[in-house]
Symmetry: C2
Subunit: 290 residues, 2 copies
């Protein structure tokens, strides 16, 4: 495909799983009617972002992993779109992953990606819920080409983006759940938002690939506090050019047609892949060089 119409579905949690899935499906249908070939959902889109606490009750969400797959497989097929979902996977008793299942437009599972880098910061206690992925950084083959799916915290790691690009990914997709702590200053919030956008823009530039991130919106309370998810879902082109960006507070479909020939155009005149000094990169596999 030389042109792909890509849609990012950004929304808030709708009080329960059932209503949230209904909202997601409505937005997918809307995007498909508007010509989308590729629809991308936010991280853990069927539920609230439950990692604000460490609570075994939430493992119940992973029990319906297979039902969730069945549901979104049907949605992909009904709408004839390649669909990037983000689900809570129960792999075995007491072994769970933060997993993206990618469906091709016939509903078939094209591939899956288990989140490799897992955060653990105040209000983001993911290491309690999710085992680190054990897949290679391999793009998923779809009828639209090779898609490099990575998830949220992965976005801070240039190594992940690079490995996907070296394996032929031409689009990187990051389902995400990131937001503000309301007690932070406006300046701090602005720095965090710009850092989040900036690092991913860097991956687009370094690798000459399209990069899209899909983030949720809305305030999700927990105790006296909570997270104000900052939206701002975006798509960058292979020169780091901004193609589309969502607002910070509203449910929104970001949709645009991307021209895959741009990748060759950009890479041919800025041939970064040509000049990598691979014989000097082996220390990248060290924790620290001391």
């Amino acid at each position: 495909m030389n042109n792909i119409n890509i849609a990012l579905i950004q929304h808030s949690f709708k009080k329960n799983k059932q209503d949230t899935i209904k909202c997601t499906i409505d937005l997918i249908q809307k995007a498909a009617k508007n010509g989308a070939n590729l629809v991308c959902l936010q991280e853990l889109h069927t539920t609230e972002y439950f990692c604000q606490s460490e609570n075994v009750e939430f493992f119940k969400y992973a029990e319906s992993f297979n039902d969730d797959i069945e549901c979104f497989s049907k949605v992909a097929k009904d709408n004839q779109v390649v669909l990037v979902s983000s689900l809570f996977e129960k792999r075995a008793k007491g072994l769970y992953h933060n997993t993206s299942i990618v469906f091709d437009k016939d509903g078939r599972i094209a591939g899956k990606y288990r989140k490799m880098h897992i955060p653990d910061d105040p209000s983001f206690y993911e290491k309690f819920y999710f085992t680190i992925g054990d897949n290679e950084f391999k793009p998923i083959e779809t009828s639209l080409g090779k898609i490099g799916v990575l998830i949220c915290w992965d976005q801070w790691y240039p190594e992940a983006a690079r490995l996907m690009a070296l394996s032929g990914a031409e689009i990187l997709i990051y389902p995400t759940a990131i937001g503000f702590d309301r007690s932070d200053s406006n300046d701090e919030k602005q720095r965090q938002l710009e850092a989040w956008i900036g690092i991913q823009r860097g991956h687009a530039i370094a690798n000459g690939v399209f990069v899209a991130a899909i983030n949720r919106v809305g305030f999700e309370a927990f105790g006296d506090s909570g997270i104000e998810f900052w939206g701002n879902s975006f798509i960058f082109g292979p020169q780091g050019e901004l193609l589309a960006k969502a607002k910070s507070e509203s449910d929104e479909i970001i949709q645009t047609t991307i021209d895959m020939d741009r990748i060759s155009q950009v890479r041919n005149i800025w041939p970064f892949l040509r000049d990598r000094r691979i014989e000097f990169y082996s220390n990248i596999t060290k924790r620290y060089i001391d």
Copy 2:
């Protein structure tokens, strides 16, 4: 040192080497009087950017490598600053490098870095002049701490920035010579400038380090064409926050005090180094994964 006053010296070529060096020294003195501890110069700052053609005549500039070292060693000592220079090195007959010599404030050579990634694009025929460096990506120890010196084309490679940070560099310094082709559209020029800034901002964020780039200004004609060097020298903090930026057309000293404690503050709450999946990164040393 918890605080470093850093100055970036951005200027145009002054028609000949002698006058250009005089301008550079004047600006270094000015920065030092204004409190600079660390002064950083642009790429190949003693001459025009001669790589617009492949011409053996220009190797004459490398003949004075040792004189250039002597000159800038004295400047560092006279002004009591750590000085990052960028010179044309003759290593042997027919073997040349694009080399940064870093002087400590006593004039002693603290270390050198030979440019590792060498470009070759229309108007930037560097592969004719410069052999690829054979140093590791190791920061240079100075009285101000470990400085990661990289040069121009290196800035497009996240691997180089990562290896410097893993080896303890807390500031990355990129002497640079980059500019516009006047025949490009304004939109294309804007994309190029933003990509150049964006990728380096990404290195600051990914690694939690300060990043500074020093670029020349002015139009340097060659034949019917030439390069319009775009200036815009900048310093980013470890969260990717912009600390200072120069204009696009004028000689300018960018000078600010950076607080090295910011690195711990940023890294402790955004602990990207903690979660690297090093056991899955070894394919970074492949040219392409096919």
